[in-house]
Amino acid sequence: MDKLLAARLYAVAVRPYLAGALFALHVVEDRSVPTMAVDAYWRCYVSPSFVSRTPLEELAGVWVHEVSHLLRDHHERGAQYAREHGEQGPGQRLRQNVAADFEINDDIYGDGLPKPAGAVLPAMLGLPDGLLMEEYLRRFSMAGRTPRLAWLDCGSGADGHARPWELGPEGAHGLSRQQRDAVRFRVAEAITGRPGDAPEGWRRWADEAFHPPQPWRQLLGAALRAAVGAPGPGEDHSYRRPSRRSAGVPGVVLPSLRRMPPRVCVVIDTSGSVSDAELGGALLEVAAISRAVGGRRDLVSVISCDAAAGVAVPLCRAENLELIGGGGTDLRSGFARALRSRPRPDVIVALTDGQTPWPSEQPSCRTVVGLFPRPARTVNEEDPDYVPGAPPAWARVVPIG
C-alpha cells in the first residue's frame, strides 16, 4: 500500500495538474483484479501482487493512465459508441479498452514518467498516433490479436462494461456525476491556467472537455441560416402586403409571411495556401446550405480571389467552375467586387485560411467567414514581421475541418 501511495506522490510530482484527480480516486484493494482498474465512480481497484512486482515509477505511470480514462470520460463515450454501433460482448469490451488505451498512451508518458511495461500503443497495430478512441475503434478489429492483449483490463472506467469486482453505483466512496464533472473541470482549469506545463494532448483535452467541438458543417449552416434569416433578406414577417388571414378578421391588420430568397455570394481564397480538396468541400457545402434555406441555385454566385478578384460566376453555370489564382491573397478585392455586383448579395461567405488583410470597414451585408485551420507559425519570407490579422469582429467565424 505504501508503495502504491508513494507512486501516487511520484505522479503528482511529475504531473502537478493532475493532482486533484489523482487524490480524488478512492483506492480499493482487491485480489481478483488483474492489475489496476477504475470504475465510472472514481474508485481504483488494485491488485496487491501487481503493486509488489511493479517498479514504483512504472506504478506512477499506471496511476496517470487510469486517471486519464476517467478524465477523458471513456466509460460514457464507450457506452455511447456501443449503443450507436450495436456492438456488445466481451470481444467488443476488449476492443474498446484497447482503443481507449491507444488514445491515452500515445501522449501521457515521457517527461519524467516512464512507460509501464506492457502499455499498448497504436503503432503496435500500425495505426497513427494522436487519434481519439472512436477513431481508433473504427480502424481496427481484434481478429487474431486477442492472445497478446487479452490480459488487458482497465475496468468499467475505460469502456463502460461492469466487472464482477466492482462496487457499482450504490457502493461506498463513489463520486456522483456532478462530483466527477467538478473534478474534471478543476483539472481542465489547472491545465488551461498554466498552459506551459502540460503537453499538447492534455491541453487539447482541457479545451474540449466541456465544449466539445461541433461539426463545422452544422456550424456553417447555422451561421449562414442566421445571416440570411436576419431582418432584411430571407423569410420574415412584413406589413408590406396584408395577410390573407385579414379577410377573416375585419378591423384587424395582419402582417403576411413573405419569402425573399437570399442572394449569397461566396468569395473563395484561391491563394496557394488553400488546397483544392478543402475548397471543393466547403463550396459544395455552401451551395447545399443556401438551397436548404430557400435560395435558388442561380442566386448563389462565386468569386475566386487571390491578390485580385475574378468575376462573379453564378453557381448554376459553374458546374465546371474553374477556380483561378494561386498566388498571394488579398480578400479585400474579393469583398469589393462582391459588393459591386448587381443585384447586391444579402450574405457574403468568405472561405479562406485567414492569411489575408481584411476590409477595414464592415461591409453593408452580413458576412460569414469559413476559416481553414492553419498552424500558428506561417512566416512570410519577404516580410518576417508580417502577422496576418484575425478575422474582424463583425464577421461570424466558423472554423472548417
Partner: protein, 426 residues
C-alpha cells in the same frame, strides 16, 4: 416494399348487430391508452419541476419525438395545472405581441393590441402551464415577439397572471435542418434543459407502465436558510470571479445556449435556493445551474459551493482531536491546505501545534500521501524556539513515503539524462 404471403386468417367474427366497426376501434384504442404509473426517480423531470416551481421559463432541448410533450403533459397533471400548447412556429408575431385593432378615432383612443384567444383563456383561468413548442423553428420576428411573453408575461395588452408557468421546447440544430438560430437575448431568458430518453423508461412505458416522479417538496422550515445559502454562494463566487458576471457567447458553438449575465445569475440563485429548500440531489442542482448560466460558469459555481462546504479551518484548529475531515482525498487535501494557510495567516505557537494535531488526526483516518504537501508547508512555518510536538513522530511514515517518491523521481530523471546524453554522443 416487400410482399409476403398473407397467412390465412381465421374467419372474421360476425359483428353484433347495431355495433359499428368504429366503436370497436375505440375500445381497442382505449385499451392501448390505459397505462399505469410507478414511482421512479427521474432527474430530468425533477429538474424540470423545480424550475417550473421556481417560476423560471424553461427551454427543453431534444430531438423530435423524444417525449418532451409527454413529459409536459405529465408535469401539468402532477402540478394540477391546465396545459396550453402553442406551436410557436405556426404563429405570427402578432399572435404574441397582440393584434392591432383599428377602432373609432385611433388618434384619440389609440390602437389596442388584442390578445389571441388562448391567452385570454389562460388569463381567465388564472393559472396554467403555457407550452411554447418548436421555438427554434419560429421566425426571427416571432422570436422577438416572444421575448416579451417569456420575460414580462405580456401578450399584447394582456398581462398573464402569476399562476402561469412557461415552458418552451426546441430541436437542437443538428436535427433542425430548417431551423433558425435562437437569438442570444431570448436564450438568456431560459433555463436550458437537455432532454434525452432513458431506454428503460421508454421500454417499460410502452409496456404500459410510465414513471411517476416524486415531485420535490419544499421544506417550510428551511426556506430562510436556503435563501441565505444561495445568496452567499452566488455573491461569494461572483466576488471572486467578477469577469463571469456578464459574458456574451462569442463562438458559434455557444450561441443560442445558456450564458452568464446578471439575469441568468439571478435565475441560478433562485434555483439554488429552491434546490436547497427541496433538498434535491447535487446532480439535479448541477443540471439546473448549468442550464441557467452555462456549463463553464455553472461548474465553477458548483466547485465554489463544494469548497464552501469544507470544514472551517479555525474550528478544526480549535478542536483537532475530534476533527471531522472529508472522506474524499482531494477535498481532504484542500481542507488540510486551508488549515495550514490559516496557521500561516496568524502564526502563533498554539495554532501551529494544533495544526500538527490536525495532520495527525488526518493520518489516523485516511491515506497518508495526502499529508505530504501540507506537512511540508506547516514545517516551513516553524519559528525559533518552537518545539515539534511529540505526536508528530507518528507522521514519520509520511516523510518516508515522500522521500521514497522523491528519490524515485530523481533516479528516473538521472537515468533519462544519462540516456539522452548517451544518445547525444552517439
Amino acid at each position: 416494399m416487400t410482399s409476403t404471403t398473407v397467412p390465412s386468417m381465421p374467419a372474421p367474427v360476425p359483428l353484433p348487430a347495431g355495433r359499428p366497426q368504429l366503436s370497436l376501434a375505440e375500445n381497442l384504442l382505449t385499451l392501448l391508452r390505459t397505462t399505469t404509473t410507478e414511482p421512479r426517480p427521474d432527474e430530468q423531470l425533477e429538474a424540470l419541476t423545480l424550475a417550473v416551481a421556481a417560476d423560471l421559463p424553461v427551454l427543453l432541448w431534444g430531438e423530435p419525438g423524444i417525449g418532451k410533450t409527454a413529459a409536459l403533459t405529465q408535469l401539468a397533471t402532477s402540478l394540477d395545472l391546465p396545459l396550453t400548447t402553442v406551436i410557436a412556429s405556426v404563429h405570427e408575431p402578432t399572435d404574441f405581441s397582440g393584434l392591432p385593432i383599428v377602432g373609432e378615432d385611433p388618434a384619440a383612443n389609440g390602437v389596442p393590441m388584442a390578445p389571441p384567444q388562448w391567452a385570454v383563456e389562460l388569463a381567465r383561468a388564472g393559472r396554467g402551464l403555457l407550452f411554447l413548442d418548436e421555438l427554434s423553428t419560429a421566425t426571427p420576428a416571432v422570436q422577438a415577439a416572444l421575448l416579451r411573453v417569456v420575460l414580462e408575461r405580456k401578450v399584447g395588452a394582456l398581462q398573464l397572471p402569476p399562476g402561469v408557468r412557461i415552458v418552451a421546447a426546441a430541436n437542437p440544430r443538428a436535427s433542425a435542418a430548417d431551423g433558425w438560430e435562437l437569438s442570444p437575448p431570448l436564450a438568456n431568458r431560459f433555463v436550458h434543459l437537455y432532454w434525452v430518453h432513458d431506454r428503460d423508461v421508454v421500454v417499460r412505458g410502452l409496456g404500459g407502465v410510465w414513471p411517476r416522479a416524486e415531485l420535490p417538496r419544499l421544506d417550510p422550515a428551511g426556506l430562510p436558510d436556503a435563501v441565505a445559502f444561495a445568496r452567499r454562494a452566488v455573491c461569494g463566487f461572483l466576488n471572486a470571479r467578477p469577469t463571469l458576471i456578464h459574458r456574451l457567447p462569442t463562438t458559434e458553438t455557444r450561441r443560442g445556449g445558456a450564458w452568464p449575465s446578471p439575469r441568468s445569475w439571478e435565475a441560478a440563485m433562485t434555483l439554488l435556493a429552491f434546490g436547497t429548500a427541496a433538498s434535491v440531489s447535487r446532480d439535479v442542482l448541477a443540471t439546473l445551474v448549468r442550464g441557467a448560466v452555462g456549463d463553464g460558469p455553472g461548474l465553477e459555481l458548483l466547485a465554489h459551493i463544494d469548497r464552501m462546504e469544507l470544514p472551517d479551518p479555525d474550528s478544526l484548529l480549535a478542536d483537532p482531536a475530534s476533527a471531522e475531515l472529508p472522506e474524499r482525498g482531494d477535498l481532504r487535501q484542500a481542507t488540510l491546505e486551508a488549515v495550514v494557510a490559516a496557521v500561516g495567516a496568524r502564526p502563533e505557537r498554539e495554532r501551529w501545534e494544533a495544526g500538527w494535531a490536525v495532520l495527525v488526526r488526518a493520518w489516523e483516518t485516511g491515506a497518508p500521501d495526502l499529508l505530504v504537501a501540507p506537512a511540508k508547508a506547516l514545517a516551513a512555518l516553524r519559528r525559533d524556539g518552537w518545539e515539534v510536538p511529540e505526536t508528530v513522530e507518528r507522521l514519520a511514515a509520511v516523510v518516508g513515503l515522500a522521500r521514497r517518491a522523491e528519490d524515485s523521481v530523481a533516479r528516473t530523471a538521472a537515468a533519462a539524462g544519462a540516456k539522452s546524453a548517451a544518445g547525444g554522443r552517439r
